[in-house]
Structures are given as C-alpha cells and as structure tokens.
Symmetry: C2
Subunit: 423 residues, 2 copies
C-alpha cells in the first residue's frame, strides 16, 4: 500500500552535452535538469525529472514544499496544489487563465506526477506502465535524432562523434548512431544551415538509407514559401515534416499546399491549442511530451484526443536523463494510439544519475517490468551532477547567447555555409 508523501526534494543538476546546433543556437557544455524525489512515510521514494532553468526550478520548489501529507495515488489532489500555485503566480503576473498558465501547470505537475506513479508502482509491485493500463508492446521504438554540430565546445577535446556540418557529416553521424542503436527511422534537427543545404542532407540520408523513414525539423524558422519549396524538393521522401513554420495559422496555410503530414511540438503544446489546430487542419501529427502536457496520464488523454480527431501521435524530446527515458518508455508502452517512433536525445548523453534505465537495441527500448519506473537513484551521481550544476554557472538555457559569445562571423559562415540561420 502507498503511504503519504513525507518530503519532496528538488535538486538541480547539470550534465555534459555536446555542441548540438538548432534554430535557437547551440547547446551549451551542460544541459540543466531538475530531479524530483518524492519520499513517503514508509521510506519509499519515487523519481521525476524536469527542466532545470531557475524560474522553473523555483516553481518546482514552491510546489514541492506543499506536497507533504498528500496521497501519491490521488493525482487530482496534486493537480489542485499545482493549480493553486499557478493561479497565485499568474494572478501576480496577470496571466491567470492564459495558455501560459496552462503550460506552466503542465510543466510543474509533470515530474511530481511521474514520481508519484513511480512510488505507487513500487508500493504495488507494479511497473508504471501497469498503472497506465498495461503495456500494449514490450519494446518502444525510437528514431535516430541527428544534429548539425560543431566538433567540440571551445577548449574541449573532440568527442567520438566530431563535427557534422554538411550532408556527408550527417550521413556519417546517422551511420554511427544506427550502428550503435539500431534505429529504424531518422530525424534531422534543421533550422541551422540554409534550407536547401538541409534538404540536401535529407536527400543524402535517403540515398544512404533507402528504407528508413526520414523527418526534418527546422523548429519553425522557415517561412511558408520556403517550406512549400522544400516540401516539393523532398516530395515522397519525408515520413513527416515537423514544425517547418511558426504557429497554427502558418502551419494551416502550409498544410493546405503540401501532401506530407505536418507534425508539431511547437504550435500544439497545450490543451487550448488542440481545437484551433483541428479546426484549421494545421497539423496531422502531435508530438506529445509528458514534461509539459502535465504528466503521463495527461498524455494518455492526449493520445485519446488525437485518435478521436484522426491525428497521429509521436513523442518529443529535450536533452534528458534516465528518469525521463524510463517515463517515456512506460508511457509509450501503455499508449495504444502511438503511431510513430519517438524522439530521444539519449545517444548524446554520457552521464546519468540513475541505474536501470531502459536499454536500447534494434532501435527500441525494452519496457521495464520491475516495480515503478524501474530506475534507482545513484546518490553519488546525483551529488556529482548537482556539483556540476553549481560550478557550471548555467542557470537557464541560452543557446543563442552561447553561440554568439563563442563563434563569431565569419567563422560561423565558414562552418555553416552561406545563408545559414544565424547570419
């Protein structure tokens, strides 16, 4: 049986991250996360993982302080606490009832909900997937998540991957990642080079991997005309086209002009976005993410909504650790309506603070069958990654600031080519 929450500890951590490029700039040497430990009166504990920027961390800490005494099985009680917190903060800032308040709610409740599911699963001797209705598959497919990247952070040695700044580099990266993980589909994070240079990379991937589904994600920095042009260049090549343009109206305008399905984790990121996106047929696939949709059970509800409205469903990823991977795998396992391989930054990470995280092979991760999430906290590693957080000096993700501080023009143009997205 579960026992009440006695204490909730929120620990910010930083883990080493390679210089991956995206439309917002380049990943800094450390990615931030917040680690949630929900401790219960019987000595059991559950884990959650979320974003690590200071504003969010403070929100998590404020919520955490209000949780002792709560019953970890009763999500609705947790929701009330988080709602009250969000209302207070939003009232202060005048954003009560806004989409921003909904998103804040979703991001704040998520790691606590996951930790409560973890501790409940442990108490009941059940994997988290059982608490979500039971796994409908015993392995969950992921895709190879390719990035343009620099060879190394300034002052650091080149890692095993090295640079990838042109089609050859991307194909080589894909080959290495697929060799190691066996992924059966490929996603390219775009929005970095000139659009046509990125389309060239997709065509090179198609030639190198004729049978693998391919996706491209320019993070909404293209305009509709560019996206139409690239879609036509890649006609018949893409599995789906992720967030080529910004916002529901532009996605709808694009969707009306092309055949390839549009996917998003940018214009449908809160419940309020679903109805307008459906009404305007702006997207055909939602990339869910329990970190901002409000936890695992909210994502099973999102899956039902997507199925009901004929939308496909996949899963979005940020740089994450093993707690989030386990949560994603349990969710993926227990979601009947899951229509594409999931995203994950997993291959780019070299350190962690849990043991027992799901293991990849053949492009998929095995669904844990041990109680809870199936991961155990390595307290030494937690302490080390927290020290890293303290010493890193990073308190919020700032990809563009980091890029500007370390890569001056014309070096950038030399590396990324004419027409790159930071020029």
């Amino acid at each position: 049986m579960t026992s009440p929450i006695s204490e909730v500890i929120v620990t910010p951590v930083a883990f080493a991250d390679p210089p991956l490029l995206n439309a917002a700039g380049v990943h800094e040497p450390y990615a931030l996360r917040s680690i949630i430990e929900v401790r219960c009166a019987d000595g059991s504990y559950g884990l959650g993982e979320s974003y690590g920027n200071t504003a969010h961390l403070e929100g998590l800490q404020a919520v955490a302080a209000q949780l002792p005494g709560l019953d970890p099985m009763r999500r609705n009680d947790l929701a009330r606490v988080v709602e009250r917190h969000v209302r207070t903060v939003a009232d202060d800032g005048g954003s009560a009832g806004s989409v921003s308040a909904t998103r804040t709610f979703g991001a704040l409740i998520s790691p606590f909900e996951v930790a409560c599911l973890d501790v409940t699963g442990k108490a009941l001797g059940r994997p988290v997937s059982d608490l979500l209705g039971g796994a409908v598959r015993d392995r969950v497919d992921f895709s190879a998540y390719l990035f343009y990247r620099f060879a190394a952070h300034p002052g650091q040695d080149v890692d095993e991957w090295g640079a990838a700044l042109d089609p050859e580099g991307i194909v080589a990266q894909a080959r290495k990642m697929i060799t190691e993980y066996g992924f059966g589909s490929i996603k390219l994070k775009a929005g970095v080079l000139a659009p046509d240079a990125e389309a060239d990379a997709i065509l090179a991937l198609r030639e190198a991997f004729p049978d693998l589904p391919l996706r491209i994600d320019p993070n909404a920095v293209w305009d509709v005309d560019t996206a139409v042009r690239i879609a036509k260049r890649l006609d018949g090549v893409l599995e789906y086209f992720e967030d080529p343009v910004r916002g529901i109206p532009e996605m709808a305008a694009l969707s009306a002009q092309i055949d390839v399905p549009l996917a998003t984790n940018m214009c449908v990121v809160a419940w309020e976005h679903v109805a307008p996106a459906v009404r305007d047929d702006a997207v055909q696939i939602v990339l869910s993410d329990h970190h901002y949709w409000g936890g695992l059970r909210a994502c099973t509800e999102l899956a039902r909504t997507c199925e009901t409205f004929g939308l496909g469903l996949s899963m979005h990823s940020n740089s994450h650790l093993g707690i989030s991977l386990a949560a994603m795998v349990h969710l993926g396992a227990a979601t009947p309506h899951l229509t594409y391989a999931l995203d994950t930054h997993w291959p780019w990470k070299h350190e962690d603070l849990v043991t027992g995280a799901p293991v990849f092979s053949g492009g998929s991760a095995a669904v844990p069958t041990t109680p809870g999430l199936g991961v155990e906290l390595d307290r030494d590693a937690l302490a080390r990654l927290h020290e890293q957080y303290l010493s890193s000096g990073i308190r919020a993700r700032d990809d563009i600031g980091y890029l500007r501080r370390n890569w001056a023009e014309p070096e950038l143009t030399k590396l990324l080519g004419e027409g790159h997205m930071f020029s």
Copy 2:
C-alpha cells in the same frame, strides 16, 4: 495486491420498473440488466453492471469466458480480448471497423472494466475514485428525472407515484421526488405528448420551481422546426435542450437557430461522433455514459476531450441498479470537468442486489470511501432477481411493443391527448 482473474460470472436479472413513458413507448414491468462478477485467485471479487438484452448478454458471456488469467489492473489486456471478440463478431456480420463495432466494444468492455476497478480497489484498500485520480468532490449532484407515466402496469396496483400525464401531474411528481431526494435540478423525459403540451409542463415546472434548472429530452423525435418553435417558447427557461432532433446534421441545423445549449446522448455516442459534432457545432454538452463509452477510464478521457473542445459534460442514465449508481458516483467524483448534475433513474427503482449503494440527500449522492465501488453483492437478492428474469419472459427491451399490446387507441389519445407521439 491484486491477483489474476479466476472466473467471471454473468447473471441476467430483472427488476420491477414502473410504466414510464418515453419516445420509444413505455417501460415494461421489468427492466433487464446483466450482473458481472469478476472473481480473482485470492478469493476477492468485483462487480459490474450492464444491459440485459439477449444479444448483449451473449456478448458479455463470450468475453467473460476469455478473461480467466487476466490481470485486473491491466485495462489494455482486457481491451484486447474485447477487441478480438468484437472483430470476430463484426467480421461475421461485415461491420468490422464501423461505428457499430466501436459501440459494441464500448458496451462490452464497460462492466468488466468496472468490475476490475472494483476488485483492484478492494485489493489496494482504495475507493474506485482513487484509481481514477482521486475524488475532487465528496458529493455528486444528480437531477430529478421526471417521466410521463401511467398509473400502473395492466393488472398491477397503482404505486406511490401514480399517473403523470399533464403539467399538474408532472409538477406533483417533481414535488414528491424533490421532497424525498432534494434534487436541485429537473429533467423531463419528453417525446410522449404533443410537443406544446410538454412545453406547457416545463412552464408549469418553472412556475412551481422558479430557481431550479430545467431540462427537456424528447429523444430526437421532433423535427427542427418544432424544436425551434419549442425553444423559443421556452426561451430563458431551459438549462439545456437534450436531443430534440435526430443526428448531427439536424442538431447542427437546430443549434445554428437557437441560443439554448444542446445536449446529447444520442448523436455523440462513440468516439467517431466527436469530431463531426465539434466540426459542425452540433452539440454543446455531451451526456457521457460509462456503459457504452467503454468504462470509467474511457469517460475520464471523454471528459478531457470535452474540456479541450469547450463542450460541457453531464451523465446519461438508463434504468439501473446499485452497482451502476456506485460506478457513476465514483466517476462523477473523480471527473474535474463535470459541468451539470447527472441523470439517474434511481428514484424509480424499489429493489436491488447490492448493499452499500450511495445514499442520496440534498440532491446529491455521497462518494463512497470504502475500498472498491463500496457495494457488496447480496447473493440472495441476486438469485431472486435472476429468477425474476427467468420468469418475466422479457429478453430484450421492447417499449413500443409493450405499449401497443396494452394500450389501444382511443385509450392512448384519451390518456396522452391529441397529437401525442404514438398516434
């Protein structure tokens, strides 16, 4: 901890029902239900309740035979068994993949899901509402469900309610029901007398109960022009207008012409109906019903979908026993987005086969806090109601056949007035 299902028993029962009129005819002397008992290896059991007509009963029995060995916590495993059964049956009849197959699935899985939640709750020492996320209210509001009715079934004595066939009778019925139960809102089952005679009853209720929300439900037997006319007569009087016309296109046509919100449990009864209803703005309120939407967790998903698309949510009722009442109350308690008092036929029933059913006072039912649904099977009563089923000879609901066999014109016109719906 839960243990695997060892045996599932399906028992058809019949309970006495007064001669309540509706657009389909009049209730027969007995209403049919199927009682599901899921027994687990550890000796525990869980209860579910569903429709009792023979075709459905046979489906339940076919599914029940395949459940031993299943884990009652894993809804998705249960869903697979029911899906397989529906596919087999639908393939035989050529309706695989149809809305009819979806509805069959929803109706067949529901009582087993409820029974599995009941036994799981008992195993965990938790009320079913906790398994749905926890109660967000400790009482659930219901409405007074008024019916035109004859004084008695042929050959039977008049009961404590007597006839209600005009505005005075309906107001008297409301007064008695509200005195006994304290309901704070009123629904009139219509589609029986001439539409204007039923509107007269609503106006009489408004006069007698100036502060109570009023609803009318003609079960989709009016045409759009009639519904528009009645809506105008009742302008400002109705809380919502339930299924005045048949089907999404007609409801949408009506909705465009009137201000009062339209509610339905007739044109949105399967997931496939949601998208067209939203697209055409055909309804503003969905009356959910776990008996055909696929169980309690499916209804929490439906609630999320309704909230996401700005639809209100209430709950539909058929004649039911205490198992279903308990399930409805747990679901209502754990559904944050529940925007109206629920329907129930409860006041019309005088016998049951469980003890511990939720008790009404002040128009609401207390949410059970004991493990599972909170009801216990009275095996003597079950045997008696099963005997009643056997001796009743009723095997499928046939309100119109019963009406035609027992009330001839011109008696009907004398009782129901000129222009009644069976003329």
